[in-house]
Amino acid sequence: MFYRLSGTYHTSYQADRKLWKIPTDRWLVIGLLILALLAPLYVSPLYLGSYVLPWVIWSAAALSLTLLMGLAGQLHFGFAAVMAIGAYASIHLVRAGIPFEIALLLSGLISAVIGAVFGGAALRVKGLYLVMATLAMQYLVDWVVVNVPAISGGAHATLRTPEVSFLFLPIESLASRYWLALGWAVLLTVFFMNVKRTSFGRALVAIRDKDFAAAVIGVDPFRTKLMAFFTSSFMGGVTGAILAFCFYRAVTPEQFGFNVSIQLVAMVLVGGLGSVIGSWLGAGFVLLAPIFLTNLVSGLAASGWVPVSQNFLSHLPLMIYGAMIIGFLLLEPLGLAKIYDNIRKYFLVWPFRHARS
């Protein structure tokens, strides 16, 4: 925690460009990874299945979305639709006899192509108009899924995922489902951290900051934006498939509705646009805070602390949740990631108060 920078001198560019430059950070990440890998051994099935697993998957979804919204600066309010395409595509592909590993990739590709087509159509517009265009995608995909029985699986629109195995590991037990989801989320995290250091990542940032300035240094805005939609939709599509196979295991259109898109945007914004740690924190907060609050308030009510009607009791967590979001954003408009960053920087320069400018 303290004096982490002491004794750390980077003598080569390579050392200075490492993902985790500070040894303490590196050990922290490795430690967290080991803890995460071993989670099935010490986390109860209730918490693993209902908290950790969805958190990991939604973090992957938030990472996919923040590539588009945070790095490339393209607002997307229909990301749940992208995930829906991935989820439904993967189920149908597996049912058609394609191995799960390949079906995952293919479903990502299908989402990527459809996402890029909508993205391409939307690229003539910016800002709020792009929001409208992506909303249209959400409603269109929703409508198609609900109204085409071949996709949604008939009258009651529940599609159960077939049993599959991934690299000979049957994706059946909670632990195996968790490991697959964790593997994907870690892969996305590492990819995201690296993409920021590639020419593609820099092109995305250039487009976000000033697209015509990017154009005059030779970055093709149309191509780059399209690539951003493609990459992000690919990641979102596979995440949708993982969500279907590892968490829900029975897919209905409501699981990918408009409100889910808004939740994803909230994760990205509350976490902090374009930030890796922000995606994890934002997903955790948006996904789990309402659950924790509901249980907390119910617990207080059961012990007689809050003697109110059920209706008020159910809305109380929502009020607290809303107040927390406003509170966080007032405290730090750049999201949870920035709060984390401030704390981290404070300790980095501790016992001094400021870094050299």
Binding site: S50, H156, T158, F247, Y248, A250, T252, E254, T294, Q310
Partner: protein, 409 residues
Amino acid sequence: MTFLRKLALTTALVAGLSAPVAAEDVKFGLLQDFTAVYTFVTGQYNQGQQDYLALVNAEGTLGDGNTVTAIVRDTGNQPQRGIEAYNRAKEEGAILFDFLSTPVSAAILDQAQADKNVVITPAHGRGDASDGTVFPYVFPMLPTYWAQAAALIEHMKETGGLEGKKIAIVHIDSPFGREPGPILEALSKQEGFEFQAFPYASPGNEQSAAWSEVRRYRPDYVLIWGAGGGQAVSVRTAIQNGIRPEQIHSVIWLAETDAANVGPQMKGVKRFEATASGTDHPIIQRIQEKVIDAGKGSGDQANVGNSYYNLGVATMAVAVEAARLGLEEGQPLTGETLKAGFEKIAGFDAEGLMPPVTYTAEDHQGGGAGRVSEWDGEKWVPVSEWKASYPELIRQVIEESAAKYAAEH
């Protein structure tokens, strides 16, 4: 209540020295949507459920000092929150679940079946779950939407005839809104009427486009198929478009709140009901006396006797009856014995609050009987007897759909 339960528990423990079995606390998970989509019904419905369970504990209905406790949580109609709530309640020992949300029920159905926990899906969820051979642990419990459509059609037949008549079905554009489609299709051939569907976009705050087409269609009867705020809009817009209130027939989701929203024009509108409304029933009277007046009610007193309140009471009356019969099989009560308890229920009518229901290993709908009632300006007045309409047709649709589901899995 905690005190009472503790007291009951202590006495049971003391008595336990001599008695062979200890008293048991049966747990029901009422994990419903209080905050998102089903808010129009959940508040009153859940209040009825909790009040009835309080009455059960006050009266000792389950015998031998056994009690029943509700685990109540909000799921916000979000499947992932439903899964969390289900897993947590399961860990706390709940063996019966009521999600009152189609998406949440759908997300948990498979898991609950594998866990052998009973899921009741009154007035929501899949209609084909009435087939107990395919869905052994799911109990729709009340008439499915198919049975409701059939009952309303039969009522039209009895009041004005169907031969050569035109029926307009104005529905919300969702899978729920399209549920009566197959029934109307089948009955139109059998009874010789024609019908046309007029969907409106969810959530139905604005329906004028659909209704101006209905006006041109000149229907003899109108069937409205929506839920929540859209229902009052349907009735109001229908009347604006020259439809007489007497022509309007509604799915179960039309209640006192909607009547208050529509106003005096509502007089004459008919709806399907699975349970009686009003406070003039022995169970409701006793709830008033032993729960509400004792200060143990779970919500606003004014709701007592409302349609959705009574619906909640009826669901818990059936569930508690199943638990009582299940406990006869032996303790402790599990999902399996509770299911067996359900399937022992025969001719149970909650002291007249609902039509007599009988569950078998095949039929988890309980017969599908209901009736039609009419709004007289102040309350709902029944205009038909409790009965199941076209039961063979409904059974056939249920079995076909369930067979398709079974084939896919």
